[in-house]
């Protein structure tokens, strides 16, 4: 397995190059690029500029593990408004295009968003219909779409078998699950999600979760690896069971308040322990 971390972790005010240098020095093999979340990688970033990003990544001795985005939280693929849906689709298409330019073979997509206004059944059906043609485009690009399990934030696809049914309904080989082991919270067990989805896992997002904090408090429910309630030996065992040998991508949502670069080193060391099973 290989280690990666998001470029949206790069401390504010740092340049992309400076951040890549830190990522390399901390021991990562790759970087996850977040479309729309960082100044250097926006929807308006041109192909030439994207290629320049790749040159910088390669100069730092890294590769791009995958292309993610948080843009679908404001522009959901499941929106009722067809114009918004069109924009959401364009975001995925741009992810696919940039992934090709960046020599990455996977992207992260938030597949749908259930709200008080847009109910579950609508979101389910619409998401399936929107993602199916994107699955064909992904196959042409040879880039896998990983639908992330955002569980409670999405209020959508809360269980592993339901998620499996969703992927079955989409029924496209280039659409799988970008499995975030920190997103499952009190509704299940990450290791069981890993077992059930096995070869359909496109990438793994790593973070730990303090389940007792719930989701409405002032403190983040997320925390650094090994500080929360995830059963990491079980997660290691499940990854081993299903033969996962892909990218482990750190997504540390609760950031260090001081010495922000230290979180890169600490997280890399923790991932090394996870990979080695020294837990």
């Amino acid at each position: 397995m290989k280690k990666s971390i998001g470029d949206n972790m790069i401390p504010q005010g740092w340049s992309f190059e400076h951040g890549l240098e830190l990522i390399k020095k901390a021991g990562y093999d790759g970087v996850e690029l977040w479309l729309g979340d960082v100044p250097w990688f926006q929807m308006k970033t041109t192909d030439a500029e994207v290629q320049d990003l790749l040159r910088k990544v390669e100069s730092a001795g890294l590769v791009v593990s995958n292309v993610s985005t948080g843009l679908h939280w404001d522009t959901p693929l499941s929106a009722r408004d067809p114009k918004v849906r069109g924009q959401a689709v364009r975001i995925v298409e741009r992810q696919l295009e940039t992934a090709q330019l960046l020599k990455a073979d996977a992207i992260l997509v938030v597949a749908g968003l259930v709200t008080a206004e847009v109910p579950y059944n609508e979101v389910y059906q619409r998401s399936v219909e929107v993602i199916q043609p994107l699955g064909d485009k992904a196959a042409q690009a040879k880039v896998k779409i990983g639908c992330e399990n955002c569980n409670a934030e999405q209020r959508f696809l809360m269980g592993p078998r339901e998620f499996q049914l969703f992927l079955k309904d989409i029924n496209k080989p280039y659409v799988g699950i970008h499995l975030d082991v920190g997103n499952i919270h009190e509704t299940g067990f990450a290791e069981q999600w890993i077992e059930i989805h096995g070869p359909n896992i496109t990438r793994i997002h790593l973070k730990d979760v303090k389940k007792h904090r719930g989701r409405c408090g002032e403190e983040s429910v997320y925390t650094n690896l090994f500080l929360g309630n995830n059963n990491w030996p079980a997660i290691h065992g499940a990854l081993h069971k299903v033969g996962y040998d892909g990218w482990l991508v750190a997504e540390m949502e609760d950031r260090y308040h001081f010495a922000k670069d230290q979180q890169f080193y600490d997280t890399a060391a923790a991932i090394d322990r996870l990979i080695a099973g020294r837990l």
């Binding site: 499996q164 079955k168 077992e195 096995g198 070869p199 059963n231 030996p233 079980a234 065992g237 081993h240 069971k241 299903v242």
Partner: protein
């Protein structure tokens, strides 16, 4: 701690949703190869009252059907010769039954016996223990609880046998059975397993290499939970007796990918 009654166990088993057919696609894809390999003599033994894990029987039946493997479902009293004989979730209840399975193996059948004895009562376990030793030379020990702390009939069973409660191996929080034959596969455990005796059966504590040769040991462990052998393969006459001390069928029923791959290997390599 209390013993799980058979009725309760059956009730639980019936409540568990069975396989998703879609999960069996991989097995189905290999079906044609399997069909050619095992001819038309695959028998699935429904041990009736002696099948204490009906969920397991259902799991094997569904997996075979999904793979289009020709097989016949028969009762324990009418087992005839077959290339491949599956006995899911059973307890060896009589010397006649044990002798039948032994005789079929010696004549060239591959008999896969999945023990449900960890879920049976003390007396049934003792009978199976005795018959396995007598007819197959397989020496089993008291069932292990693989999830320490969970309510367990096995604990009572072990205690009743005069021994201490036998918990699972030290790292039992990783609930997997590691197979090295017929393929290297990891399958989830099913809460209890029947260990085989190292000393009495002459097993090495070192993991076996999955090497096929004419000089294979007579008894060979094929799966372990940590270091503890729970499944073995015994050569008998012209055939084989495969003992599964950790149930595979429930995982076939729930669509476990690795369990399906293991059955596929078993069918094609035995």
């Amino acid at each position: 701690m209390r013993l799980v009654s058979r009725r309760r166990l059956l009730g639980c088993a019936a409540a568990v949703p069975l396989a998703l057919h879609t999960r069996l696609n991989g097995l189905a894809a290999a079906g044609s190869q399997v069909r050619e390999r095992i001819l038309d003599h695959c028998l699935l033994v429904d041990a009736g009252e002696q099948c204490v894990l009906p969920e397991s029987l259902a799991g094997f039946a569904r997996a075979l059907a999904a793979a289009s493997v020709p097989h016949r479902r028969i009762g324990p009293d009418v087992i005839e010769s077959g290339d491949f004989i599956l006995v899911p979730g059973a307890v060896l209840h009589s010397s006649v039954f044990a002798d039948t399975l032994s005789r079929l193996a010696r004549r060239g059948s591959v008999v896969v016996y999945e023990s449900g004895a960890a879920y049976a009562g003390l007396e049934a376990f003792r009978i199976e223990q005795h018959l396995l030793r007598t007819y197959f030379g397989a020496i089993i020990e008291a069932p292990m609880d693989l999830w320490p702390g969970a309510p367990s009939g096995a604990a009572i069973l072990a205690a009743a046998q005069g021994g201490e409660r036998r918990n699972g191996p030290p790292a039992a929080t990783l609930p997997y059975v590691h197979y090295d034959w017929p393929s290297t596969t990891i399958v989830r455990d099913f809460s209890r397993a029947i260990p085989l005796s190292y000393a009495a059966m002459g097993f090495s504590r070192e993991a076996h290499r999955p090497v096929e040769s004419a000089h294979e040991p007579y008894h060979r462990p094929i799966a372990r939970i940590n270091d503890v052998p729970v499944c073995c393969r015994l050569r008998l006459g012209d055939g084989q007796f495969v003992f599964l001390g950790s149930p595979l069928g429930p995982h076939l029923a729930s669509g476990d990918r690795e369990a399906q791959a293991l059955l596929q290997s078993l069918l094609s390599r035995s």
